[in-house]
C-alpha cells in the first residue's frame, strides 16, 4: 500500500505549512512554533505532540479529538499540504491539575514518581513519567529523591481545537553544604540525648 502520509512543518500561524518528509501511512507529522507546541502528530484517533520547549520547561501533550475534529484536522492538513495558510495560535490555556512529584526510581525511558496533588482533593498517585517530558538540561536532575512540579492543562487553539498539555519542571533546590549538615547533626544529637532507649 502506498505511503500516503506526510510530515509537515508549521511556521507559526502566518506562513504556509510546508511538507518536510514522508512518514508512516496513517500519521502526519508537523513542527509547530505555537507558544506551546513544537511538534504535533496527526493520527486517525487524534493529534499529539511531544517535546515542546517553553523556556526551560519541556512539555508534552496529546490532543483528544472528536471524529468531526479529526475530519477538520484532516482537511486542514490537506490544505496545509497544499501550501494554504492555516491559523495555529492558541487563544488561552487552562490548568487542570498540579502535582508535586518525587522521583522514586529511574528506569530506562521513564521514572517512577509519587505525585501529590497541589490544587484539589484528588488522590496521591504513583505514575511512570516519561523521561521525554523532561528537558535535556534537567534530565541529569532526575534521580531518586529529586522533586519536580507537574502540571496538566488544556489549551484552546485559534482553530477551535482544544488540546491537552503537561509540563514537568525539575526543581533546583541548591546543594547541601557541610555547614548545614553539621548543624542538623548537632540538632539530631541534642534530640537524641533527651531519649531513653530501653
Amino acid at each position: 500500500m502506498a505511503n500516503t502520509s506526510t510530515s509537515l512543518s508549521f511556521d507559526g500561524g502566518q506562513s504556509p505549512v510546508v511538507p518536510v518528509e514522508a512518514e508512516s501511512r496513517d500519521k502526519l507529522k508537523y513542527k509547530s512554533v505555537e507558544r506551546f507546541l513544537a511538534r504535533r502528530v496527526f493520527s486517525p484517533d487524534g493529534v499529539e505532540w511531544t517535546r515542546t520547549r517553553l523556556g526551560s520547561t519541556t512539555m508534552t501533550g496529546r490532543v483528544a479529538l472528536r471524529p468531526s475534529d479529526i475530519q477538520r484536522a484532516a482537511r486542514s492538513v490537506t490544505g496545509a499540504a497544499a501550501g494554504q495558510p492555516r491559523a495555529t495560535d492558541n487563544s488561552g490555556t487552562q490548568v487542570l491539575q498540579r502535582w508535586e512529584g518525587i522521583v522514586r526510581e529511574v528506569h530506562g525511558s521513564y521514572f517512577e514518581a509519587l505525585l501529590t496533588p497541589m490544587s484539589d482533593g484528588s488522590p496521591e498517585v504513583i505514575a511512570d513519567v516519561s523521561l521525554d517530558a523532561v528537558g535535556d538540561s534537567d534530565v541529569e536532575l532526575v534521580r531518586p529523591g529529586a522533586t519536580f512540579y507537574l502540571q496538566a492543562g488544556r489549551a484552546r487553539l485559534r482553530t477551535g481545537m482544544t488540546v491537552a498539555y503537561s509540563s514537568v519542571i525539575m526543581r533546583r533546590l541548591g546543594n547541601w553544604y557541610q555547614e548545614d549538615l553539621d548543624l542538623l547533626r548537632e540538632r539530631g544529637a541534642k534530640r537524641r540525648s533527651k531519649f531513653e532507649f530501653r
Binding site: E112, P123, T147, L150, R192
Partner: protein, 365 residues
C-alpha cells in the same frame, strides 16, 4: 462483612487481624485477657481513618488502656502511615522501634528530612518525628523513650493469667551495623543537590516478631529479607540457636510475599506443616508482590494462604481522572494502596484449627 459491632474475641481467644494494602499495612493481635498489640499502620485514602484503630474501636476495645504494645517494623512512611495517630490514641502502650532507630545517624537523618520538608510537601520520616514529639510531650518528669527491637529480646510479657510473650527475632546485630552504614551513606550529602531524603528501603533493619500466647505461636515477618549475608534477615533467624523454641501455626508472610523474602527455612524450621499464611500485597511497584511466581511458591508451602487484596486492582474513578489528565506524559497511574482488606484468624486454646474470616477485598489464594 462489616466489622462494626462484631463481638471481640473471648479472653482466652487469640486473634490475628491483618489490614492492607492501604497506605501501609497493619497487623492487630489479641494477646489474650483483653491485651492487644498493633504492628505497623495502615490508612485508607478512600475511606480515611486508621484501619487498626477503626477496627479495635468497633470491637469496643479501649485502645487507651488495652493496647499494650505498638511495634513499627521499619521506618518508611509508606509502611507506617498513621503510626503517630496510633501512638497518640494508645496512650499506655509501649512503643517498639527497630534498634537502628536509636542510632545517632538516624536522628540526624530525621533532622535532614525535617529540613527538606520545609521546602518539600512530603517527607520520608515525618511519622517518626511525630511519634518522637508525642513521646516527648507525654513524658513528664521522666525521659521520653522507646523499646529497641533487636534479635533475642523479649519485648513484652504477661505472667499472670494466660501466658503471653512477644519476642523480637530481628533485626540481628549485624543488620543494625549494616543499617549504620546505610544511614552514613544517606548522609553523604555535602555538595549534592537537595531533595527528599532517599527512602530506599531499610528493610535490612526490619523487625520480625515471635508471639506466644498459651501454647500457640505466631510469626510476624515484617518486611524482612532473606539476607543480606548469613548474619542478617531470615538467614540469621533460621540458623539461630537462641531463638524461642517451637513452631508457629500462623505466619504473616514477610515483605508482601516478595521473592526477596523467600526462605525455605521459614517453612521447614519455624512453622507447623500447612500453617495459616496471611499477607498484604504491595501496590506501589510496577510488578507488585506477590507476583504469580510468588503465589506459586506460597501455595507450595501452604494450602491456607490468604491475601488482604489482589496485587493489582481496578483503579477508582478519582485515579482514572488523574490518569486521563496525565495520559500524554505518564502511564501506569496507580493509587497508593487502595481499600484495605481484612483477614481475621481466631483460635481458642481448645480448638485445633484457626478460624479465618475475610473482609473484602481479602481473598484466599
Amino acid at each position: 462483612m462489616n466489622v462494626a459491632g462484631l463481638p471481640g474475641p473471648a479472653d482466652d481467644e487469640i486473634e490475628v487481624s491483618l489490614f492492607g494494602p492501604g497506605k501501609g499495612e497493619s497487623c492487630v493481635v489479641h494477646l489474650g485477657d483483653g491485651d492487644w498489640m498493633i504492628v505497623d499502620s495502615c490508612t485508607s485514602q478512600r475511606r480515611g481513618g486508621n484501619s487498626a484503630l477503626v477496627y479495635l474501636q468497633g470491637l469496643g476495645v479501649d485502645v487507651g488502656s488495652q493496647v499494650k504494645l505498638i511495634v513499627a517494623t521499619h521506618a518508611h512512611d509508606d509502611h507506617i502511615s498513621g503510626l503517630a495517630d496510633i501512638v497518640e490514641a494508645c496512650g499506655s502502650a509501649e512503643v517498639v522501634l527497630p534498634a537502628a532507630a536509636s542510632l545517632e545517624e538516624f536522628f540526624t537523618l530525621l533532622e535532614v528530612d525535617e529540613h527538606a520538608e520545609e521546602y518539600l510537601r512530603v517527607s520520608a520520616y515525618s511519622q517518626y518525628r511525630r511519634v518522637f514529639d508525642i513521646l516527648e510531650r507525654r513524658a513528664v518528669g521522666t525521659l521520653p523513650g522507646f523499646t529497641r527491637a533487636i534479635a533475642d529480646r523479649v519485648l513484652w510479657r504477661r505472667n499472670i493469667g494466660l501466658r503471653a510473650e512477644v519476642h523480637a527475632l530481628a533485626p540481628s546485630d549485624e543488620a543494625v551495623t549494616q543499617s549504620l552504614d546505610e544511614f552514613a551513606e544517606l548522609l553523604q550529602l555535602d555538595g549534592r543537590p537537595r531533595g527528599q531524603v532517599s527512602n530506599k528501603d531499610p528493610n535490612t533493619f526490619s523487625v520480625a516478631l515471635w508471639v506466644v500466647v498459651g501454647d500457640d505461636r505466631i510469626l510476624l515477618g515484617g518486611d524482612l529479607y532473606s539476607g543480606p549475608g548469613p548474619d542478617c534477615g531470615w538467614n540469621a533467624i533460621v540458623t539461630s540457636t537462641t531463638r524461642p523454641p517451637g513452631r508457629a501455626s500462623v505466619y504473616k508472610v514477610a515483605h508482601h510475599g516478595s521473592k526477596t523474602s523467600h526462605h525455605p527455612g521459614i517453612w521447614n524450621d519455624l512453622l507447623d506443616p500447612d500453617p495459616v499464611a496471611i499477607l498484604a500485597p504491595f501496590r506501589g511497584s510496577k510488578s507488585p508482590p506477590p507476583t504469580p511466581a510468588d503465589e506459586h511458591v506460597l501455595r507450595g508451602h501452604s494450602s491456607r494462604v490468604f491475601l488482604t487484596a489482589s496485587s493489582s486492582a481496578s483503579q477508582p474513578s478519582s485515579v482514572r481522572r488523574v490518569a486521563a489528565n496525565l495520559g500524554h506524559v505518564a502511564t501506569n497511574v496507580r493509587e497508593v494502596g487502595g481499600i484495605p482488606g481484612h483477614i481475621r484468624a481466631r483460635k481458642t486454646p481448645l480448638e485445633t484449627e484457626w478460624s479465618v474470616e475475610l473482609v473484602r477485598p481479602a481473598r484466599a489464594l
